[in-house]
Amino acid sequence: MHKLTLAAMQRSLESGEFSSVELCQHLIERTKQHNETLNAFVSITEEQALSEAKAADEKRAAGDTLGSLHGLPIAHKDIFCTDGVRTSCGSKMLENFVPPYNATVVEKLKSAGAISLGKTNMDEFAMGSSNENSFFGVVRNPWDTERVPGGSSGGSAAAVAGRLVPACTGTDTGGSIRQPAAFCGITGIKPTYGRVSRYGMIAFASSLDQGGPLAATAEDCALLLNEMAGFDPRDSTSIDRANDDYMATLHQPVKGMKIGLPKQYFEAGLDDSIAALLQQAIKELEKLGAEFVDIELKNQHLAVPAYYIVAPAECSSNLARFDGVRYGHRCEDPKDLEDLYKRSRAEGFGREVKRRILVGTYALSAGYYDAFYVKAQKIRSLISQDFSQAFADVDFILGPTTPSPAFKIGEKTSDPVAMYLNDIYTIPANLAGLPGISVPCGDVGGLPVGLQLVGNYFDEARLLNVAHQYQTVTDWHTRIPG
């Protein structure tokens, strides 16, 4: 049962092959069994899930439909606020935080009939590329438990890859959906900035943060995104634009689509075996009728430097709200208000979060604002212009998702900059606000590899369409760790 895709589970529930209670029970048992090793879940909401599954089965028996995800199990990254269910954001700061409300994404998926089995582990406050920064411990990659699952949505990616749950929510600020999807051999899409509501999604870098789904296939991502996307008046940067039906266009032909290959993505730094797999994928897409052209994205090398100013700057501002007064961790016996702030934050935040708060505070401080923050926002304009020029001529841009397959736990923890360079291919789309998808395209020594497609603004439907068509002629997305 757990090996089925979300779409296949949907069909089986509809045909009565098994019930939602049977499905959820099976997956919860599986999760309990494997979570000790993988550490993909930080909370399993068994009681709530089974009672919702029972209600879903009863509704179905009565001929009612809750929505397109009726009775289907999912899990939420622990960054999405869940009413009455602890939402830790991977941090000691929020170790005991139980939100009194649901994030819009949680609410939307729930009202479409989805059943949350629990909350998935993540890098603290979504800051990390390996899931080694979680207060709740490292998540292990189901393909090789000595290796990282990627981050920051590492728990979500590992849970889907390990077939504990067919689909999860995630968030992507610099690659946090696409990079773990690539490392774990699954599919993940970061929509256009503003496509999915950020309300109730704990903020890291507000001009970059975007929620999206992770699942085995592009079709499953489309199923989930259909419900997640949409205008939300509660998010001031949500885009007021009609929703696309991502399922409706999955079967359109790829023939005639023009895909750009940025020379900068295939240069030094990319693992040779990944480059070879990308060439194979290009051949497959050519067979489907796609046309490839070489393009230039000449400021790409400045994306990581600009990101590591913009993201920490916004993080230092967003995380100022954790003051030990209204919610979250508070230190023992503060001697005065300043001591309360300083010690609560020192104790509540982990090392990487503190590092970024310090860098961000520095970059925003008097005398440095223009040299760092404004400069980085100017570089962002250049990177965005490069993309606009490219999209005048091509429909998509194809490249690697990551420079290498999943690395070993502990391999990069001593050098923050080496860790940051993992996101070299994913960060540009965040800086420009563009949608991007990672799709499994092979393996290197048994470790999955992802290819990334970046589309123009609001082109999620066509991205999912191309990814789905690619998945009809390849089987990398069907492989399950042994």
């Binding site: 900035y193 309360l340 310090l358 401080s365």
Partner: protein, 95 residues
């Protein structure tokens, strides 16, 4: 762009995060590494480039000036570390 211990201490104060004396040099070295990375941005002349304000040039939406939320003080105070009679408690600020 080397950051020294003093800068770490100043910035940590601005950010209201206590950094233990023994870990200050580590943070100085980490911050220096990140700022060195950021310095690569100086390779490009951006004097005539406008800084990005929003990826899709969206403007701030305004809503009607009407109350659309109910008071949830009790729910929010229930998750606070220390409250009394509807107030959040902190150490005395005025002597």
């Amino acid at each position: 762009m080397a950051v020294d211990n003093k800068v770490v201490e100043q910035v940590a104060h601005l950010a209201r995060v206590q950094i233990s004396a023994e870990s200050v040099p580590d943070y100085a070295s980490d911050m220096s590494g990140v700022l060195e990375l950021a310095a690569q941005m100086d390779q490009v002349d951006t004097s005539s480039v406008e800084p990005m304000a929003h990826p899709t040039h969206a403007v701030q939406r305004l809503r009607d000036d009407v109350v659309d939320e109910v008071n949830q003080r009790d729910a929010f105070q229930a998750i606070a570390p220390s409250v009394e009679n509807g107030y959040y408690l902190v150490p005395p600020v005025i002597e």
